[in-house]
């Protein structure tokens, strides 16, 4: 399943880049993610709560690996999660385009779902993936705004 | 994960049962395992096949979608309670037998429990209404035709109307003289 799209953040590209490498921010971009900790260069581990349609929500283990990083332009993100009901593996290519003070993000993710969750959630997965992406991006955007506001407060006027 | 058991009291087929159950225990499992009423069958565990249908306060519900705790203080009727006494049958059960409305019989309790309240409300249903009423119950064996006949038969009997004889198919030219057949075929 391919999920792709664009999203514009009201922040300069470098700021967006930095925030996207921060596990505390990333965790907000993944709806259901409970926590995420950095385990090394661009690698993160955590726990996510997933439930799709008739599949009861359950906690899944989560790993995130950022690679091919060309700051502040692009990177690849590999997200794997695993639980009793199956697994998901996602590979996303993310590009950041500088646009006069704001940043346009272009993403294209190839998502694979396996096990029971694939068998019963299929009809909904497409929608769920898109909805989760949208929620995630909006959460990211909110987080950025807060951070920017904090930075501005902290900075001398 | 497993929360503490809760006390429930349920009136099943006229007998009252008190049990401590886990909140996540399904009514279907409660009936089958805790009370030993194994006539209620489970075919899908997600509310589609209808095999687990029972009556709760007179209304057909899928017991795989209801928690036992939700039945607390309610009245539940299962297939075991349909017949008036041991060795006898409810008129709908009789009609199922006489119209060959069951094969493996696994889906049957669910059909019966769906149809009991239906017939009470629609004593003289036409074929389409019957089909709609059972469209939420899956049967892999019968192809439904004889279930529809059984419902009609029960309705007709209740109203004292004449019954349609069984076996709709005809047997054609049972055994033919070989010469005639060969001639015809050539």
């Amino acid at each position: 399943m391919i999920v792709d799209g664009e999203y514009t953040f009201p922040a300069p590209r470098q700021t967006v880049w930095t925030l996207l490498q921060d596990p505390d921010v990333l965790v907000k971009a993944m709806p259901g993610a409970k926590h995420l900790t950095s385990t090394g260069d661009g690698a993160y581990e955590g726990v996510i709560r997933i439930g799709v349609g008739p599949v009861t929500a359950a906690e899944w283990s989560l790993t995130v690996l950022l690679s091919d990083r060309t700051p502040p332009e692009s990177y690849t993100m590999q997200v794997d999660s695993k639980g009793t009901l199956g697994f998901t593996r996602g590979n996303a290519k993310v590009e950041l385009l500088d646009e006069a003070g704001s940043t346009r993000m272009r993403y294209r993710a190839d998502l694979q779902v396996g096990g029971k969750v694939a068998g019963v959630g299929q009809r909904l997965l497409d929608q769920v993936a898109k909805m989760m992406t949208k929620q995630g991006l909006e959460a990211l955007s909110r987080e950025m705004k807060t951070r920017l506001a904090e930075d501005q407060e902290a900075a001398p006027a | 994960m497993t929360a503490l058991p809760t006390e429930v009291s349920v009136l099943v087929n006229g007998t009252s049962h008190r049990r401590a159950v886990e909140p996540r225990l399904l009514l279907s499992d409660f009936l089958r395992h805790d009370l030993g009423l194994t006539g209620t069958h489970v075919g899908c565990e997600h509310g589609v096949c209808g095999a687990c249908t029972v009556l709760m306060d007179g209304e057909a519900v899928r017991s795989c979608l209801v928690f036992a705790v939700q039945a607390d203080g309610r009245e539940v009727a299962t297939v075991e309670g349909l017949a008036p006494r041991d060795g006898a049958l409810h008129p709908l059960q009789e009609a199922f037998r006489d119209a060959h409305g069951l094969q493996c019989g696994f889906c049957t309790p669910g059909f019966l429990m769906t149809l009991v309240p239906f017939l009470a409300e629609n004593p003289d249903p036409d074929e389409h209404t019957i089909r709609e009423a059972i469209s939420g119950n899956l049967c892999r064996c019968t192809g439904y035709a004889n279930i529809v006949h059984a419902v009609r038969l029960a309705a007709d009997r209740a109203a004292g109307r004449a019954e349609v004889p069984m076996s709709t198919g005809e047997t054609i030219d049972p055994v033919e003289a070989p010469e005639a057949a060969a001639l015809e075929a050539r």
Binding site: - | H46, V48, T142, G143, D173, P178
Partner: protein, 786 residues
């Protein structure tokens, strides 16, 4: 009065228990101290299994044991080959059977990896989350053609190939036939996977009685005796120490045959090891992944005909998806290959198939067992040919039917029972004419035209099929008259709703002239009968029914003998009448069977030499080969060209299943089969994605036909008695579903005749039909005739 039961509607004696909720199904077995099982299963279609860590699960309260492949020790063995491949020249067959728990490789989603045994099913399922599976995904093999490419990943490395089998069968000279042909048509056909979807899922329960040293197993199997024999061997027990009971089984349809499923092999083992009863019941989701499925095939077929529509020859080459393992040998693809020939005279047949391993659930026979594929290919080729030749669909069939003088007809290829494909009997044309009459074929063009004026599109289809049924090897039955006068019949068969109890009681009651209500039948319990094979290939009624008949005849002879002795008259003067033996000339001198049974088992005095005590006999029946059932299906559908929805308006089945034991039971089988066939044709399809993940593993997404989708079938029976057994029986269990797809395709095409689409695939879901309609060229004005 002599009692007539065979051929009559007798209500079923099993129904009382089923209707009141007192029938015992396997999941209803509740035993003191019983443990419950859940399985950790593969999420991957293809992976290397690096390790399984069950320590956390073992530590969880309520968990009694967790087993992985390693814990099984020597008990870990691949399952048996159930049906060896037939002795066909040049055959290639590569065997790979399922294993109880995956060891190094995961080969399909749902393959069991670990078995959790706990105090309740809820606890067992909780513990699944604690088992850590380390798997490294491999490229999945899902496309049949890709699977055979040299660089494709190999599912069973020890075989070095994904080819499971290669079989070529020929008769006549196809090339020569083709060179003489006026018309040669070739097409590619697809037939996809479906689920058997019995409403009862599988279940196994087992209890080891250490004092008696006896193992009792309750199993939703169609073949309790082979399961008993197999498990006794595996567990190192004597067959007499193992009792397998297949109580009431909620629909079989093939996959509940003697598979030696992992769960079936593990539950009894765990019960012995733990010394407590153990039960596992499949849930619906597991059923979609772990119960064997219906087959996918891709056919490249060609037909050569003369100008007048006569078949000169057929060539067919197909790929058969056998899934991850092939324990059932070649039964399914051989059925496809043989059944393709149908009721037709095909002078030259060049047939080849390759069975292919894929990373999907294993394929074994499901109702129809591959026959529908052959029928679909042949019937479609005839339809396309008729269209080219400007012939009527019925006419092209008529001119190609085998005729009475042709029987027995030898197709000179081998069938699944290793016997030459010989049709014992049949008379096809009258069945066709009857079906045309019932579907109102003559008047249909007018009906279609009028409907079209109202904006409705109707189409009609008529197709034929032949089904080899009632194959060997054998079944047996024991008939006993008890001192109460009641008659007991035991067979080794399992029964799944076909009404065997009643059919057998009818046969015996008629032979002994006794009230059918006084005949009790037990099936499916190895304690009751020791020998037999199982319910498959529409053989139960034919083979076991014939054995019941033979045993009843033997008891009848004993009754006459004992009565003659007791009444002191020559045997020839004794007759049986309503549960009594009496002197023909003096009917008042009469003895009830119960008393005769007592007399036959004296407490004093000897049993005279050459006789046996009691009124009991056991008999076996094994036909030399199967008997050929056949029939015609005709259907009228209405298709909405905008929504691509199709509705079945009329459905006709005229079939010949030999002598009918109980017409109502037969009609029930046919009606149910048609519903199954309609599901296959239009609603049901297992959607696998390219990575081998099943995408619709629930009844929410995998649609079984409901009461609103299945029409009532009008039926007519022809009774051409089968010469292969004394009662003239032929099997009927699968007849309803075999030609349904072909009939449906023809009718849908006819309804859309102005759009000239060709249907070459089944299932044809509304979505797929919608796509075909979009791709179709603009409407032309011709083509309204059926």
């Amino acid at each position: 009065m002599s009692r007539r039961y065979v051929g009559e509607w007798v209500t079923r004696n099993e129904d009382q228990r089923l209707l009141t909720g007192h029938a015992l199904f396997v999941d209803d077995v509740r035993l003191e101290g019983m443990l419950h099982v859940a399985f950790v299963r593969s999420d991957h279609a293809h992976a290397v299994l690096r390790g399984v860590d069950a320590s956390a699960a073992r530590a969880r309260p309520g968990v009694v044991a967790v087993y992985t492949a390693e814990d099984l020790g020597d008990y870990w063995q691949p399952g048996p080959l159930l049906v060896p491949p037939p002795p066909i020249d040049g055959i290639v067959f590569n065997l790979a059977t399922q294993v109880p728990l995956a060891k190094d490789r995961l080969r399909h989603v749902g393959e069991p990896i670990a078995m959790v045994v706990a105090e309740s099913r809820y606890l067992a399922e909780d513990a699944l989350a604690d088992v850590v599976v380390d798997a490294e995904p491999l490229e999945p093999v899902t496309d049949l053609e890709r699977a055979l490419e040299p660089d494709a990943p190999v599912i069973h490395p020890q075989l070095g190939t994904n080819l499971a089998a290669h079989v070529v069968q020929r008769h006549g000279d196809y090339e020569e036939a083709k060179s003489r042909a006026d018309l040669v048509l070739s097409r590619r056909f697809h037939y996809d996977r479906g689920a058997s979807a019995a409403i009862e899922n599988r279940a196994v329960a087992a209890r080891w009685d250490g004092q008696a040293q006896e193992l009792t197993i309750w199993d939703t199997t169609q073949a309790p005796i082979p399961i008993r024999n197999g498990l006794a061997g595996m567990l190192g027990l004597m067959q007499s120490q193992v009792r397998v009971v297949a109580p009431f089984v909620g629909g079989g349809f093939g996959p509940k045959i003697m598979m030696f499923y992992p769960e079936e092999v593990l539950v009894p083992w765990a019960a012995m090891r733990l010394g407590r009863p153990v039960k596992w019941t499949e849930d619906r989701q597991e059923n979609f992944f772990a119960t064997t499925q219906e087959r996918g095939q891709v056919h490249d077929a060609e037909i050569a005909l003369s100008r007048d529509g006569r078949i000169l020859g057929v060539r067919d080459s197909f790929l058969h998806d056998t899934g991850a393992y092939d324990p059932y040998g070649l039964t399914v693809p051989i059925n496809s290959q043989c059944t393709l020939l149908g009721p037709y005279d095909v002078p030259a047949y060049d047939a080849e198939f390759r069975a292919v391993f894929t990373n999907r659930t294993t394929v074994t026979p499901v109702r129809g067992a591959g026959r529908q594929h052959g029928v679909f290919v042949m019937e479609r080729l005839l339809d396309f040919a008729a269209r080219e030749l400007g012939m009527d669909a019925a006419e092209i069939r008529r001119v190609n039917y085998l005729v009475q003088d042709d029987f027995p007809h030898d197709h000179k290829i081998l069938f699944q029972d290793f016997q030459p494909l010989v049709y014992d009997s049949g008379n096809y044309r009258p069945a066709l004419e009857k079906a045309l009459e019932l579907i109102r074929w003559e008047g249909f063009p007018e009906e279609k035209r009028r409907a079209r004026e109202e904006g409705r599109r109707l189409g009609v289809g008529v197709v034929s099929y032949v089904e080899g049924t009632g194959i060997g090897p054998y079944e047996g039955a024991r008939v006993t008259i008890e001192p109460s006068g009641r008659v007991r019949v035991a067979t080794g068969l399992g029964t799944q709703g076909q009404g065997h109890y009643t059919a057998f009681a009818q046969i015996v009651a008629e032979a002994l002239d006794v009230d059918v209500a006084r005949v009790g039948v037990v099936t499916g319990d190895t304690r009751e009968f020791n020998w037999g094979t199982g319910t498959f290939a529409s053989r139960g009624a034919v083979v076991a029914g014939s054995a019941c008949h033979a045993a009843a005849q033997a008891v009848r002879a004993k009754v006459l003998g004992v009565a003659a002795r007791v009444l002191n008259v020559p045997e020839g003067e004794v007759e049986l009448w309503d549960g009594h033996a009496r002197v023909r000339a003096e009917p008042q001198r009469s003895l009830p069977y119960g008393e005769l049974a007592m007399r036959a088992n004296p407490l004093r005095g000897g049993v005279s030499p050459g006789t046996e005590p009691g009124l009991e006999a056991t008999a076996y029946f094994g036909p030399d080969r199967g008997s050929t059932a056949s029939g015609v299906h005709a259907v009228v559908v209405e298709v909405d060209a905008e929504t691509a929805m199709a509705k079945f308006l009329r459905y006709v089945v005229v079939h010949d299943c030999g002598k009918l034991i109980n017409p109502v039971l037969v009609e029930g089988q046919v009606q149910g089969g048609v519903a199954h066939g309609i599901g296959n044709a239009f609603f049901e399809k297992l959607h696998y994605d390219e990575s081998g993940q099943l995408q619709n593993a629930s009844f929410m997404d995998y649609l079984l036909p409901t009461a609103l989708d299945v029409p009532e079938v009008s039926m007519a029976h022809r009774e051409t008695p089968a010469p292969m057994n004394p009662l003239g029986l032929k099997g009927v269990g699968e007849a309803g579903c075999i030609p349904t797809g072909a009939a449906f395709a023809q009718a849908v095409e006819d309804a859309l005749s102005d759009l000239s689409i060709e249907i070459r695939e089944i299932p044809l879901s509304p979505n797929r039909l919608f796509e075909l309609l979009r791709e179709a060229p603009a409407p032309s004005s011709q083509g309204t005739a059926p």
